[in-house]
């Protein structure tokens, strides 16, 4: 039995914070369906198991509801096994009833009840969620599920493995890690954890095929699973299918040279245009260096799909020449001296000091080089 294990497509997720890049990111989540289908076709897998959270919202718009189904419909040689997750549980007249009432594609199988489903020489034992948060382990029924002898038993569930991750997963729907042994499963395909992860030989999280957040997996992937026969250990192969890399970087900057180093380092990354990056900066820079950093970051921002900069930990440390560039003497120099003193005044709170540093930087940007030949 060879199949694709995937989960957490989160179709319909909103990316307004990425402003004009939102449609690009949303489109990528739909386009990855084609990539999965192509991989399955290439690898001879006819069944794709989607372990929950195909949709981001329980009440998606009509277009959002239809789009992934219609994409799956195009790949007639494949069977798409869909399990409701905590984001898209099966509830009365919910999105799955809506989808069914509109006519499901023939190659899409909804697993809305905990019933065995025969697929070739295997049987799928699904544990669909009927609400966002279940207090009991829905996979428990698999222990008692009778199947014909000689069939491969594949569990399909969405939730958190008990005792693993400390509740890092989204759902609180706990799953007993001994389920494969208790239910005689050859493989337990899990969703909810947005990282590719092997809990055990027979228990795997596939991760999301297209990342949707920082601090999760960098690139989207699925698992190509091959189970030779009942009881045989599965072969699990991670394959990248996602387009965008979601990365988080942290760097310390204390000199203009380090700005150059950072610039070089980031630009070494392959496929920079498909990067969605959160960059945390710390350290202390002169006003001139900060101006230089602004220029470099503006260029990097243009080179990537999205660059989010966190400079809360980056201090302004004006050099004497910074203040001279503002003026050697006079009103502006006096003002800059005052702002500098204010930014270092321990009697003020951090926000006030930060505001003074920003004001000094602003003065530098406006006045430096405009004092008729100073510097």
């Amino acid at each position: 039995m060879r199949f694709i294990h995937t989960a957490d497509w989160q179709i319909g997720k909103v990316f307004r914070r990425f402003q004009d890049k939102e449609p690009v990111l949303q489109q990528a989540r739909l386009d990855v369906i084609g990539a999965i289908a192509a991989l399955a076709a290439a690898e001879g897998a006819t069944d794709i198991l989607i372990a929950g959270d195909l949709y981001e919202h329980e009440a998606p718009s009509q277009r959002t509801l239809s789009e992934p189904l219609q994409r799956m419909r195009q790949h007639v040689a494949l069977r798409w096994h869909v399990l409701p997750g905590n984001h898209d549980p099966h509830r009365p007249q919910g999105l799955w009833d809506r989808a069914r009432s509109q006519g499901l594609p023939a190659n899409v199988v909804l697993h809305l009840e905990p019933k065995p489903h025969r697929v070739g020489d295997a049987v799928i034992l699904p544990a669909p969620l009927q609400r966002a948060s279940e207090t009991r382990d829905l996979t428990g029924w698999m222990d008692r599920a009778e199947t014909e002898p000689g069939l491969i038993r594949i569990g399909l569930a969405h939730g958190s493995i008990q005792g693993f991750g400390g509740g890092e997963g989204e759902a609180k729907n706990l799953i007993d890690p001994r389920r494969p042994e208790l239910a005689r499963l050859d493989y337990l395909a899990l969703g909810d954890w947005h990282r590719t992860l092997a809990i055990g030989e027979r228990v795997h999280y596939s991760g999301t095929p297209e990342p949707d957040r920082f601090g999760s997996q960098d690139e989207g992937s699925v698992l190509l699973v091959d189970i030779p026969g009942p009881g045989a250990p599965p072969r699990v192969d991670r394959r990248r299918v996602g387009r965008y890399r979601w990365t988080t970087e942290a760097h310390r900057l204390d000199s203009p040279e380090q700005i150059d180093d950072l610039d070089r380092l980031l630009r070494q990354a392959p496929d920079l245009a498909n990067h969605v990056m959160r960059l945390r900066l710390e350290g202390a820079l002169s006003l001139a260096a900060l101006a230089l950093l602004d220029e470099r970051l503006a260029q990097l921002e243009a080179a990537m799909l999205w660059l989010e900069i966190d400079r809360e930990a980056l201090e302004v440390r004006p050099a004497p020449e910074d203040l001279e560039r503002i003026d050697f003497d006079g009103v502006l120099r006096q003002a800059s001296d005052r702002l500098l003193a204010r930014s270092r005044d321990a009697g003020l709170d951090a926000a006030e000091r930060s505001l003074a540093a920003d004001a000094l930087l602003e003065l530098y940007r406006r006045a430096a080089g405009r004092n008729g030949g100073a510097a």
Partner: protein, 894 residues
């Protein structure tokens, strides 16, 4: 610099050369009338100093005399830096320039233009006119005195150089001002300048507005989503309830229970129906039995009644006979009582007549007793009438009215008064005669001894031949004597006319009249005591006489009627009356007893009649009953009818017992009412439950369909996705608003710091000017403190606690402060060795008398350091300014 001389030709109204003479140190005043050409002189002075002689500006052409083709020629003599100079320039025509130092020409034409500027220390500008430097600053042309000094670049330079020399170099002010402008503009894009509120249409306001709008939309979407969640939850509940309600096993059990209950109820109702049919039959049988028994009782009662009535008839007839006898006896007794009563009545009538006669006689005796009183009354009345007539006659004969006496006494008082007056006005003479003079002293020719005299008329005293003294009382004494004589004559005439010899006779007559009048009052009182007045006394006498006569006649008639010769003795009459009344009282008592007997007999008769009527009625009723009863129960059929009735009773009793046994059996078979009600309630309850279940299922189906529809619609709207979009969008705008806010606060902090530094620097810059302005302000405005704004313009004036903005001051005050500021600048420059004349052309036009005096003080103070030139048309007002008087002299030869 100090101006020494000025002459102008070809300018304005000066077609000939006109010279201003009299310039010197201190204040110089040119007082000329309007349109005398003062402003032309001012312009000519400026043109000469600051225009190249080759200049052809519109201002210069405007300066030229209209209609003349003469050049504008200006010649100015001045002292500067301890040297004397003279510059002469000819403009527009015959252009030339000549600059002399100490009378020696040192430059001509363009060189003269520039040499002059070099001497004055003003840098040539890039254009045709040179910068007027401090001259422009301190020279106030006509109509410009209200404006504060607006510094040109060079003027600023000159002033700044002076300030710098005093406080040191200050840099960056201009850059700071420009940067402040930029910052205010940038901040103004976000927030309002006045209140610092987000500016409408600005990015901050837009971000805040978008956040607020999105917040509302999120709330709405959340509400809808929550509603959908509630509907989903409710739908689940409804579906579970429907499954439970439609459970087939439960429905089967309910139906079986209902069928059993209905069967039991049907059986019970059939038994009850049978019983219902049988019970009326039992009642009919019972009624027949009771009827038979009633007929038997009726027959027996009638037989008994026949026997009783027969006995009653016999008794009643005996009673009627006895009653008739008793009535006859009572009637006899009644007749006897009536006869005795009538006899007693006749005796009483005789006694009543005797009493009436006695009463009549008593009245006569009483009337006879009144006659002596009436006789005495008549005698008193006659006496009083007579006396009154006599008094009235005496009063007529002796009239002496009180009024006459009053007039007499008034005259006598006047005479006494007059005499007293004459006595008071008399000369009192007291003569003491010495022994030798005895008899030799003559008074009005008569010798007199020692005496005292009141002389009311002339009196001659002969003092023994040694002297004659004539005593003449004061004038008026004779008049008083005549008045006295007139009064005495009047009194005599009064007595004579009244017929009295003297006052005593009159007084006696009055006394007599008054006595008579008192007697008359007594007579009138007597009449009044008899109840009559003087006018009715005679009539009353006649009336009394008639009464006495009538009385006598009535007495005689009564005696005759009673057969008496005289009136009887009242005591005998009283004894007779008492005897008659005693007898009458005894007769009345006897008659009352007879009346009682009559009433008792009458009552006995009425009672006997009633008893007889009752017994008669009983007799008749018994006879009627007996006739009826005998008709129904003849004595001959009495035995047979009794046997028939008893047989009918026995038959009815047998039939009733049979029906009662049958009903009792049915009652045992039929459930009681409580049991029936119980069965009915159970069936009703089970049927109701079935109906309720069916209705509930229908309701659940409708509610489920309704919720499914609503959830489907809500889900179709993509609420969850929409809400996520809104939240993301709101977060985006909130971040943007936060960023804008931080940006604004950053810019505001920068602005505030730069502004604070700028203000500090500017205050230092203004310090020298303020120092020089202070005494001038003190001259005009007591304890006024200036505050400078941009440049060197006064922005506010503080007087005491009040702060006033310059533009809100009165025109006069604004003009005065502007002039004083120039004086202060002039002082500052003069102190630095750059003294420039201060020229005021027609200034201080709005100053009142008091204020202009103070302004003159300030000009006087300024004149101590530099030359002050004043052009004015207000000769009288500026008379008190003092200083030198400038004059215009026309060069007749030019």
């Amino acid at each position: 610099m100090k101006i020494l001389s000025l002459s102008v030709s070809g300018a304005g109204r000066f077609d000939r050369r006109v010279s201003v003479t009299g310039f010197g140190d201190g204040v110089n005043v040119l007082c000329e009338s309007n349109e005398a050409g003062k402003s032309t002189l001012f312009k000519a002075l400026r043109t000469c100093l600051f225009e190249r002689h080759s200049s052809n500006t519109q201002d210069l052409r405007d300066l030229a005399s209209e209609g003349l083709s003469l050049p504008v020629v200006v010649r100015l003599g001045f002292e500067h830096g301890g040297k004397t100079y003279e510059i002469e320039k000819s403009f527009l025509k015959q252009r030339r320039a000549s600059f002399r130092e100490g009378g020696r020409e040192i430059a001509t034409n363009q060189e003269a233009d520039e040499a002059l500027w070099e001497v004055l220390g003003v840098a040539p500008g890039s254009g045709r006119t040179v910068d007027q430097a401090q001259f422009g600053l301190l020279w106030v042309s006509q109509g410009k005195s209200f404006e504060q000094p607006a510094l040109s670049g060079a003027a600023t330079g000159a002033l700044a150089a002076a300030v710098q020399a005093e406080v040191g170099a200050l840099v960056g002010g201009e850059r700071a001002r420009l940067l402040l402008g930029e910052l205010r503009r940038d901040i103004g894009e976000f927030v309002t300048e006045s209140a610092g509120k987000p500016k409408a249409g600005g990015p901050l306001a837009q971000a805040l507005n978008e956040s607020a709008v999105l917040s509302g939309a999120i709330g709405e979407a959340e509400r809808k989503l929550a509603a959908m969640e509630a509907q989903i939850e409710r739908l689940g509940q409804l579906r579970r309830e429907r499954a439970e309600t439609a459970d087939p096993e439960a429905i089967r059990e309910d139906e079986a229970r209902l069928a059993a209950a209905e069967a039991e109820l049907t059986t019970a109702r059939a038994a009850r129906d049978r019983l219902t049919l049988k019970e009326p039959m039992l009642k009919a049988s019972q009624a027949a039995l009771e009827e038979a028994r009633r007929r038997e009782r009726e027959r027996a009662e009638r037989a008994s009644r026949i026997d009783a009535d027969r006995a009653l008839l016999a008794t009643a007839r005996a009673d009627l006979d006895r009653l008739a006898e008793q009535e006859a006896a009572a009637s006899g007794r009644l007749r006897e009582a009536r006869a005795a009563t009538d006899a007693q009545g006749a005796a009483e009538a005789n006694d009543e007549a005797a009493l009436a006669r006695l009463a009549s006689l008593a009245a006569l005796v009483s009337a006879a007793g009144l006659r002596p009183d009436q006789t005495a009354r008549r005698a008193a009345l006659a006496e009083a009438s007579r006396r009154l007539g006599e008094i009235d006659a005496a009063l007529v004969e002796a009239p002496a009215p009180d009024e006459l006496l009053d007039r007499l006494e008034a005259l006598e008082r006047a005479i006494a008064g007059q005499r007293a007056a004459i006595e008071a006005g008399a000369v009192r003479i007291e003569i003491a005669v010495q022994p030798a003079g005895e008899g030799r002293i003559l008074l009005d020719g008569k010798p007199t001894g020692a005496t005292r005299i009141n002389a009311s008329g002339p009196l001659v005293i002969d003092a023994g031949g040694l002297a004659t003294l004539t005593i003449v009382p004061p004038a008026g004494g004779e008049d008083e004597g005549r008045k006295l004589e007139a009064l005495e004559a009047k009194r005599a005439a009064l007595l004579r006319e009244a017929g009295f010899a003297d006052g005593a006779a009159l007084r006696l007559a009055v006394q007599k009249r008054r006595s008579l009048e008192q007697e008359r009052s007594g007579a009138l009182g007597a009449l009044k005591g008899l109840g009559v007045g003087p006018s009715t006394a005679a009539a009353e006498l006649q009336k009394l006489d008639a009464m006495l006569e009538a009385h006598d006649r009535r007495l005689e008639a009564a005696l005759a009627s009673a057969g008496l010769a005289a009136l009887p003795d009242p005591a005998a009459m009283e004894a007779e009356r008492a005897a008659i009344e005693l007898r009458r009282s005894e007769a009345r008592a006897a008659r009352a007893r007879l009346e009682g007997r009559k009433e008792a007999e009458n009552e006995a008769l009425r009672r006997l009649a009633a008893e007889r009527a009752r017994r008669q009625s009983d007799l008749e009723a018994a006879e009627r009953r007996l006739a009826i009863d005998l008709a129904l129960l003849p004595d001959a059929a009495r035995a047979s009818l009794a046997a028939e009735a008893q047989a009918a009773v026995s038959a009815a009793e047998t039939a009733f017992a049979a029906e009662a046994a049958a009903v009792e059996t049915l009652r045992r078979e039929t459930p009681d009412a409580e049991r029936m009600r119980q069965l009915e309630i159970r069936v009703e309850r089970l049927r109701s439950a079935r109906k309720a279940r069916e209705q509930r299922l229908a309701e659940l189906d409708r509610a489920i369909a309704n919720h499914e529809g609503q959830i489907e619609i809500a889900g179709g709207e993509g609420l969850g996705e929409e809400l996520a979009k809104l939240r993301d969008e709101a977060a985006l705008w909130e971040r943007l608003a936060k960023n804008h806010d931080k940006r604004v606060r950053t810019l505001q902090l920068l602005r505030d710091e730069i502004a604070a530094c700028y203000d500090e620097q500017r205050d230092r810059l203004h310090a020298p000017i303020k120092r020089h302005l202070k005494p001038y302000l003190e001259d005009v405005f007591s304890r006024a403190d200036p505050e400078f704004g941009e440049g060197y313009a006064v922005d506010r004036i503080s007087r005491g606690a009040a702060q006033e903005r310059f533009e809100l001051l009165s025109d006069g005050t604004k003009e005065q402060i502007a002039v004083l500021t120039r004086l202060a600048m002039g002082s500052l420059l003069a102190e630095r060795g750059q003294a420039v004349p201060i020229i005021l052309d027609d200034a201080l036009v709005y100053s009142d008398d008091e204020r202009i005096e103070r302004m003159f003080d300030a000009l006087g103070r300024a004149a101590g350091q530099q030359q002050v030139v004043v052009f004015t048309c207000r000769t009288r007002a500026f008379q008190r300014l003092g200083g030198r008087r400038l004059t215009l002299e026309v060069d007749r030869e030019s």
